[in-house]
């Protein structure tokens, strides 16, 4: 609490400070602004985080997520250097006597063909930037990591970095710094993706070919974002090639994909469409057994984006994503899917004031049932819809201060589940869990301020607000969590407001251009939560809002880190320590019934949670070899009233040791090999420690919750990639990738069950289920 108040005070002090300085010091000298967009010359894509450096003053700035930069200087002659890794640096001299709009295109540098090509921000950005606790993954790097069934996956790649852990094997649900799966805000072009996984979590919904940029904030979430306690995964789609029509695609063992992009009006408007579909069910259909060949099992994704540069001051982007998973046969079907849509308008009010307005829509739904014609016919549907708007402003006040402020509001509509019988024969009448709605809004302001050449301070204040909106029915519970009565709220009635400040403060002390120390404090609030009782996360998990019965969760996170680069920045290392404390942490009571239960709020219990850890990372990119080694030592625990006799217990995904090595070697320009080795402590589980007999059945007595561990998990993945001859005159190329997931076929236990020996009811044994032995895959990729 004290830190929270201190943070708000520091924020106010610094904010007032800069406004006074500006008012007093700088009014007298008129400055002019150089601004514009930085783009990739070969495709027209905006370059995010490009460096714009003024040589004479030794100061610089970077382009924002839309490639826009702005720098204000007193009149004079300046040489400005534009750079971005993997691209040729360009220098331009300006005689600054008035405001200038200067858009620039950088050309990709000639590839040293045997070196690993990475594109990105300044080579020592990890040291000098004000950010910490973030991971920015280059798309090309993600593609080089050997993948399960050949399916390149952004989220699985993130899990190889420190502080990010898997929840369960194969699952796309991930835990960031001890947070649970629902504490990650996943956004695709500003719209929220609620369930980022296909096929029970084995694959993510992001089609790598359509993605331009992926950034994961593990802490130090900017003040412009909120609503989740542990992380922000910001995924940006490519805008579409504005120069020429091009495409990429691939055929793999489990799915195929195709991406097409091109200009609609050269250099002004472009599109990109991307699709992916699995076809495991084609093999099922070829089987002659009718019990097998009338099963369908598939998923597909479709991404589409349109963007239009109206003029130098206005651009619009329209993006959409549509994905679905289906499993069905004549007796039963289950399916789920996500749809997201966003419309964005960038508008420059002035050369210093950049703004972006977003309208967004997001929907996650699932259904399962037995088709009509059966006595048991039923259908069960559930969904969650978001309708929202955001306004974000970047104000490039002066070379030392960049202000960001804005506001947002999203209306959430929750339909947690309705089951009904189908047809006349069905005995099932309609049963539904009450709908609910919430309006989540926020306003924020923040600044990134350079103090001298050695210190960068970032501070922001977010104020968030959440209120339920009728029509809905809320059940009221007594102290024993038994329902006593219910309250009905009319349509449009606002009730149960929650609100609070979320200060975010951080500082970077640049010791020299190779090393720095960073520290950061942030408070986040989460108003919607996931009712998830399974240890792996399934599509049937239900999102629910804060209500009179459920308080928002609040987290305070402190982090400190030391960043050091070696050997002209070809080796980046960092050590970060963090501590996170969560109030109103939610968990579910023993034997919780969450599916289709109107009284599921009575199954919740709350308390406190803690997570703390130490993250080590060594990233290398030396000539032909690249990759990283990451190790996280951490604990995540909670104490919830009503669970485990009110004693502290570890979260299921508490994995004290998490070690990954990623290695990539370009043998010759046409062949590269990659390997990944991971090791984690086994998940925490509850085992039986005693037994008795009741009703002729052996009945177990259990240990304290999560008192035991599964065996440790480790796995090696390898891949070999053959490429077509690189030829700068040809536009098209291909590569053939062979990979083996779990190369030494370690049987990693996914779950351990205790069973009775057949024929001997008194004897039991432990049996483990493992998901994957070695899984080989071949993928053929092409581009033109």
């Amino acid at each position: 609490m004290k830190i929270y108040i201190t943070a708000i005070s520091i924020f106010c002090f610094l904010f007032v400070n800069i406004t006074i300085t500006k008012a007093v010091g700088e009014e007298n000298i008129k400055k002019f602004t150089i601004s514009g967009h930085v783009q990739d010359k070969s495709s027209g894509e905006d370059l995010i985080g490009a460096t714009i450096y003024v040589k004479e003053l030794k100061i610089g700035t970077t382009s924002n997520i839309y490639g826009f930069y702005s720098i204000s200087l007193i009149p004079g002659t300046y040489t400005i250097q534009y750079s971005y890794i993997g691209f040729k640096k360009i220098e331009k001299t300006f005689e600054l006597i008035e405001n200038v709009t200067y858009n620039i295109e950088l050309a990709p540098s000639e590839q040293k063909l045997d070196e690993v090509v990475i594109t990105g921000e300044a080579i020592n950005k990890n040291v000098t930037s004000a950010e910490m606790s973030t991971i920015k993954m280059d798309i090309k790097t993600i593609r080089q990591i050997p993948a399960l069934m050949g399916e390149v996956d952004i989220i699985k790649a993130m899990q190889l970095l420190p502080g990010v852990q898997t929840i369960s094997e194969g699952s796309s649900g991930f835990s960031v710094r001890g947070g649970s799966m629902d504490q990650n805000l996943i956004q695709l072009d500003e719209a929220t993706v609620y369930n980022a996984s296909h096929l029970m979590g084995f694959f993510s919904v992001f089609n790598n070919d359509a993605i331009k940029d992926v950034k994961l904030y593990k802490g130090d979430i900017p003040a412009s974002s909120g609503g989740r306690l542990s992380s922000l995964l910001d995924v940006r789609m490519k805008d579409g090639n504005t120069k020429r029509f091009s495409g990429t695609g691939g055929i793999g063992t489990i799915s195929s994909r195709l991406t097409l992009e091109g200009p609609i009006v050269k250099d002004k408007a472009s599109f990109i469409v991307s699709g992916r579909r699995t076809y495991a069910d084609i093999f099922l259909k070829l089987n002659s057994d009718p019990d097998i060949n009338n099963n369908s099992l598939y998923f597909y994704d479709f991404n589409a984006k349109l963007n239009y540069n109206i003029n130098d001051n206005n651009r619009i982007y329209i993006s959409g994503y549509f994905g679905k998973d289906v499993f069905k046969n004549p007796d039963f079907k289950i399916g789920w899917g996500n749809q997201t849509f966003s419309f964005r308008w960038n508008h420059l009010f002035s050369k210093k004031l950049f703004s972006n307005f977003t309208f967004l829509y997001s929907k996650f739904d699932y259904e399962l049932g037995v088709p009509e014609g059966d006595v048991n016919s039923f259908s069960w549907i559930a969904n969650l819809k978001d309708y929202g708007g955001k306004a974000d402003f970047n104000y490039y006040l002066n070379t030392n201060n960049t202000l960001r402020f804005g506001l947002s509001s999203t209306f959430h509509n929750f339909v947690p589940g309705t089951a009904r019988g189908l047809g006349d024969e069905a005995f099932l009448t309609e049963y539904s869990v009450e709908n609910n709605n919430g309006l989540e809004s926020a306003i924020y302001v923040g600044n990134e301020q350079k103090i001298g050449s050695m210190i960068v301070v970032k501070y922001g204040l977010r104020f968030s607000h959440f209120v339920n909106v009728g029509k809905s029915t809320i059940y009221n519970y007594d102290d024993e969590y038994e329902m006593v009565d219910s309250t009905v709220y009319e349509k449009g009635e606002f009730f149960s407001p929650y609100y609070g400040f979320e200060p975010r403060i951080g500082a970077t002390f640049i010791i020299n251009e190779k090393s720095s120390i960073k520290a950061n404090y942030s408070r986040t609030r989460q108003y919607i939560h996931l009712a998830q009782n399974s240890t792996a996360g399934t599509p049937l998990d239900i999102w629910f809002p804060s209500t009179p019965n459920v308080n928002p969760q609040i987290a305070d996170q402190y982090a400190i880190g030391y960043f050091r680069n070696f050997r002209t920045n070809t080796i980046e290392t960092s050590v970060e320590a963090y501590y996170k404390h969560i109030q109103n942490a939610i968990d579910f009571k023993d034997h919780a019934e969450l599916l289709l239960n109107q009284l599921f709020e009575g199954e919740l219990r709350n308390g406190e949670a803690w997570a703390y850890g130490l993250e080590f990372l060594v990233k290398y990119n030396i000539k032909k070899i690249s990759g990283w080694v990451s190790y996280t030592l951490s604990r995540t625990e909670r104490r919830i009233i009503g669970i485990n006799d009110d004693q502290i217990y570890p979260a299921t995904y508490d994995k004290p040791h998490d070690f990954s090595i990623v290695f990539n070697y370009n043998v010759i320009p046409r062949i590269s090999v990659g390997a990944t080795w991971v090791f984690t402590t086994g998940s925490a589980v509850t085992f039986p420690t005693g037994r008795y007999i009741y009703g002729n059945k052996i009945t177990p007595i259990y240990s304290e919750r999560n008192g035991y561990r599964l065996p440790n998990y480790h796995r090696l993945d390898v891949s070999v990639t053959l490429r077509s001859k690189p030829d700068p005159t040809k536009k098209w190329g291909w590569d053939l990738n062979f990979s083996a997931y779990n190369a030494y076929a370690r049987k990693n236990p996914w779950v351990i069950n205790f069973k009775q020996v057949p024929g001997n009811p008194n004897e039991t044994y432990a049996e483990m289920t493992y998901l994957f032995s070695i899984v080989p895959a071949i993928t053929f990729n092409f581009k033109f």
Partner: protein, 278 residues
């Protein structure tokens, strides 16, 4: 809804692989277990007392003899006699029966303390149950099972049911986890036109239904606590738990005091029989 999760779980399990593994689970302190059932039928009703054992132990749990076991229904208090041939089993006489509407108090005093306690008690309300109009057995071709369907009125109150099934007077649901169990959320206050309450397993010969077999359904009107107890017991002993659908395992509830485990259940019964014709 457990039914759906079960189906999905089994479907997914066909795809994955299993292997025996050695896991040392250690030991835990001894517990006192009570298994007591009292119904409205006129017969000997029993209460069984045992102690818990280590998880991997092969022997039967030890029974507790020479305990004093009494049942008090607010009108009479009777003492149960230990069965000489089956130690640990304490029985009422054969003319005793439970009365719907009364609340039954079970009290036990054991010769040697377990975890510092020698006396234990449990209470259960004996709720009434609706009569069954009729039952029907139908063979479902698609799944190769026989379905037992019930025709009865469910009262508008919140009711819970347990279903035990007999074939030619021999109980098929001899293990508690084989029973049918249901709440009334999907048909509360309505007539159940053939709601299925039990499926005869098609993989186990003693459960096959042949023409001419007499099938009897014993429906119990159980308390919510006993209903939850049976559901939790079924969940925790189900052999195919998987991380996708199950929460962490946890101990099953009890209505026995002082750290005891198990359950004392009192319920009314109604019966119906049918002779199966093809």
């Amino acid at each position: 809804m457990r039914y759906i999760a079960t189906i999905i779980t089994i479907v997914l399990f066909i795809a994955s692989c299993t292997e025996k593994i050695d896991i040392d689970v250690g030991t835990t302190y001894e517990r006192f277990i009570v298994e007591g059932t009292l119904t409205t039928d006129t017969m000997k009703h029993g209460v069984k007392l045992i102690k818990s054992i280590d998880y991997y132990a092969i022997e039967q749990p030890p029974t507790i003899s020479n305990a004093i076991v009494t049942i008090d229904d607010g009108v009479n208090k009777i003492t149960l006699e230990e069965n000489k041939e089956e130690p640990g089993n304490y029985e009422t006489d054969e003319n005793y029966f439970g009365v719907a509407g009364r609340t039954y108090l079970l009290e036990i005093e054991i010769p040697e303390a377990i975890n510092g306690y020698k006396t234990f008690s449990a209470t259960s309300e004996l709720k009434p149950v609706a009569p069954i109009d009729s039952i029907r057995v139908e063979y479902i071709e698609k799944w190769a099972v026989w379905e037992l369907q019930i025709y009865a009125w469910d009262p508008p109150t919140e009711d819970f049911y347990s279903f035990e099934v007999f074939k030619n007077n021999i109980e098929i649901t001899d293990t508690i986890t084989k029973r049918g169990i249901s709440d009334d959320r999907f048909f509360n206050g309505n007539y159940t036109f053939g709601v299925p309450v039990y499926y005869f397993s098609s993989g186990y010969e003693p459960e096959f239904v042949y023409p001419g077999d007499t099938i009897t359904l014993k429906m119990g009107g159980i308390t919510k606590d006993y209903y939850n107890f049976i559901i939790e017991l079924m969940d925790q002993t189900f052999e195919y738990r998987n991380p996708l659908f199950s929460g962490p395992p946890a101990n099953i509830r009890t209505n026995i005091s002082n750290g005891g485990l198990g359950f004392f259940a009192a319920y009314s019964t109604s019966y119906s029989s049918v002779v199966y014709q093809e």
